[in-house]
Amino acid sequence: MDHLALDPELPSRKPSRRRFMKSGVAFGAAALVVGAARPAPADAQSPGEPMPAPDDPSKVLGGPRRPYGERSRFETAIRKAFRGKTDEVGPIMTPLQDLHGIITPSALHFNVNRGGVPDIEPRKHRLLIHGMVDRPVILTIDDIKRLPSVSRILFIECAGNTSSEWRAAALKTVQGTHGLTSCSEWSGVPLSLLLREAGVQKGATWIVAEGADATGNERSIPMAKAMDDILVAYGQNGEALRPENGYPLRLVVPGWEGNVNVKWLRRVTVVDRPYMTRMETAAHTSLMPDGKARQFLFVMEAKSVITFPSGDQRLSGPGFYEVTGLAWSGRGLVRRVEVSTDAGKTWRDAALQEPVLRLAHTRFRFPWRWDGREAVLQSRCTDETGYVQPALADLVKVRGLNSIYFNNAIQSWRVAADGSVHNVHV
């Protein structure tokens, strides 16, 4: 099965040299215009080197206004693919180690695509709601945007997040081990509003949602969840959804595995049973040691991870560091995060950064003075139901090593005496 394949790390994509050259030339040109050409002319640069920034930016006219902003040319955080069969198919992961706060920039939101990222003109896109309803309906994006909407900050985590880590500490960075979770402000219309308007008939117990990508991803979702808190979203972090994240319309299913958050949503069929699609039979089912597979596992259980210090980083020397990370639970609020610096022998409470929101990433912070000796850092969270994030051994005891999905185990980072940080199992 495709999700079992774990290829060696693909080389990370280097930021385009050409883009650096271009912005360097633009800055250079601006400098020449004001007659204060402190940066050396482009042709004096060694080939391919970016133009250096001026020593004193207050002595050079800055760049022009830009209609659509880009980050500083010196910022390099990127999503990264650790596995995948083609350029189009597979996951690409969020650089959690580079994020601040709880919002994932849309450009860095993880995504998993089975048939590539579709190119959809919103004017032509339609949502069909039909099946066991009194009034089947076709809606345009404009129709949907006219309806009463809500905005909510919600995490989405792929059920396969951390699936590389069951047998061994496999990937070096937190981007590799945990980068299939992200958190955005999503704006859209409650699915319950659309279903009530369409008139759900007696006996309807599930919906099937389908996307407009090349695999037509389709998932069955229980009616109780559909009538509870699912959004038909068109907005992400204040602008339209990004194509990789479902433009122009997607489901956002709070707290549930990423795959049911159907992207490029084009159809909701109201039915009286789950439809046993590929992604709820052949995949996204969890094989147990007795040979039975758990099916319709939707909720992402409570999980946390330290993002600094984390794998492949290096502490410059003994002294003060603020340990920080993210915690979340598909069952609601994160109530508590504890941090251990001695491989779980002792635990102390971390501070939870406000706002602490249901079904969203929660940022935690923990002051730490490193004495320069080897340390193993861990975090574990407790959610509003009292559920405590388990140790890997406790998960494996129940589920074995072949269940693939829903690995929410405590993560360990070993800080070596030289300051280097490593992914370890303890």
């Binding site: 099965m1 495709d2 079992l4 394949a5 069969k85 198919v89 089975r114 048939g115 069909l128 039909h130 009034r135 089947p136 309906v137 076709i138 809606l139 006219r146 309806l147 659309l194 308007e197 369409a198 099937v208 389908e210 090349a214 695999t215 037509g216 389709e218 084009r266 159809r267 069929t269 039915v271 049973r273 439809y275 046993m276 699609t277 590929r278 039979t281 052949a282 094989l287 147990m288 040691p289 040979g291 039975k292 597979a293 758990r294 099916q295 596992l297 939707f298 909720v299 504890e338 102390r348 409470d349 405590v388 388990p390 140790a391 406790d394 998960l395 005891k397 129940v398 072949n402 829903f406």
Partner: protein, 190 residues
């Protein structure tokens, strides 16, 4: 009489504006938005096939025919016998689910043959999805079932026979029992 007129006019205006806001074809009654789909639109869009086979189109195929189509359209990724591991092996693995190295394939794991039809129909081949006509989808489905020892080489697979195919792992699925891990002893807040 003259006293009544403005009231009548106001009533008419109200009626007209309601009629404008709620065209007769509007399908969201509260908001007066959306239109009813035509039967053809629903038929064209609704390609989801449940396990009872409802919605399967006319057409049929056999493994013998499917082998040729698979060779031309699928084998470059999946191997002639569906055993190229790069894209996930499609055959074999029966009896491995309780071992250390379970091999999850159509034959060893998939609970319904209809899922196979539905997925090939909508999503395959990867570089030309939805391009196989129903007869070819039936034939390729038959070939994959044949490779897994589930149907015979000349068994006819169609809308009637496909839902009746008994998959070996049909009863291999259980509902979600989580939370399934015992809590660690409580630590004091500090």
């Amino acid at each position: 009489m003259s006293m009544c007129r403005p009231v009548v006019v106001a009533g008419l205006v109200a009626l007209v504006s309601v009629a404008t806001a709620l065209p007769s074809h509007a399908q969201l009654p509260t908001y007066g938005l959306g239109r009813a789909p035509t039967g053809k639109e629903i038929k064209d869009w609704d390609v989801t096939i449940p396990s009872d086979g409802r919605g399967l189109p006319p057409g049929s195929g056999t493994a013998a025919l499917g082998k040729t189509i698979f060779s031309a359209r699928c084998a470059s990724c999946h191997g002639e016998s569906g055993d190229d591991a790069k894209y996930g092996r499609l055959a074999g693995g029966q009896g491995t689910l309780t071992t250390d190295k379970p091999l999850l394939t159509v034959g060893s794991f998939w609970p319904y043959a209809t899922t196979l039809w539905s997925y090939i129909n909508r999503a395959q081949p990867l570089d030309d999805p939805g391009s196989l006509p129903p007869d070819q989808v039936y034939a390729v489905t038959a070939y994959l079932l044949y490779l897994n020892g589930i149907v015979g080489e000349h068994d006819v697979i169609d809308a009637r026979t496909l839902p009746q195919v008994k998959m070996p792992n049909r009863s291999g699925f259980v509902p979600d029992p989580r939370p399934d891990v015992e809590k660690p002893p409580k630590t004091k807040k500090r």
